[in-house]
Amino acid sequence: MTISESIQSIDFLTAIRESALVYPIILGTHLTCIAVFGGMILMTDLRLLGFCLKNLTITEVVTSLRPWKRVGGVVMITCGLLLGSSEAVKYAPNPYFWTKMVVLTCIGIHALVFRPLVYNNTEALDSSPVIPTSAKAAAWLSMFLWLSMACLGRLIAYYEPRQAVQALLLIK
């Protein structure tokens, strides 16, 4: 058995893959997180750019939404892990899935890089007369990376390996 076959043959993952309602409910939860928490991420980014919620300090926006975003992140990743590992054989050769994982890594790096500069430094941003470039860069990158995540996630379903398989069979 390949690694992906042994992953997805775990009992509860098989149950998810073959389920009637569980799989679409996990998928729906994943999508609902995009809706609810995607909106929060976006509003935080837009506040960092100074486009909206201007009567609130950056500190208020960031610290108030932080626990929610953490909850959202945990739920998103849990759903993603369940969906992906239940279909490990289909996901293993899928370029959209792997690109999405690269983007997710970039998001992690983004968090590490900008935490000291921006997200844990909001008082400095508020007291600065002009929003610093680092904050704006963080915001633009964040929006771009999350948008990529959403699109790539949808595109996962579009990968059809059969043509590649047929081509390989012809070569054989």
Binding site: I16, A20, E87, C106, I109, A137, L155, Y158, R162
Partner: protein, 133 residues
Amino acid sequence: MRTKWMGLLAGGLVIAAVPGFAHHSFSAEYDRSKPISLKGTVTKVEWMNPHARFYVDVKDGGKVTNWEFELGSPNGLMRQGWTRNSLKVGDVVEVNGSRAKDGSNLVNANNVAFEDGKRVLGGASSADDPNTK
């Protein structure tokens, strides 16, 4: 900054990915105006989300080719009377459906008929499009 470059790389990958994908709406992937009917022996059944699939060896003269058939989701199939055991390896079936537009051995199954005369609907798309004949 490293992050900026990674972001650009990811963006490039996203854009590069766009032309590469296959179709996924029924009408973009399958041609309803070219119905196909195939008979053969089931070699594999994948009862899975989001689409169940099964594979059939079809004899054409002396040659045997393996065809892939796409069905709906387990929930959708069960609403049409399927169980996960409705189709088994070794079953002799006749499948009616719409062939993939790219001409590959992929068919979206509209219905599956068993040798004993029992007929079960397929159904990635259970509606019969009144427009196509």
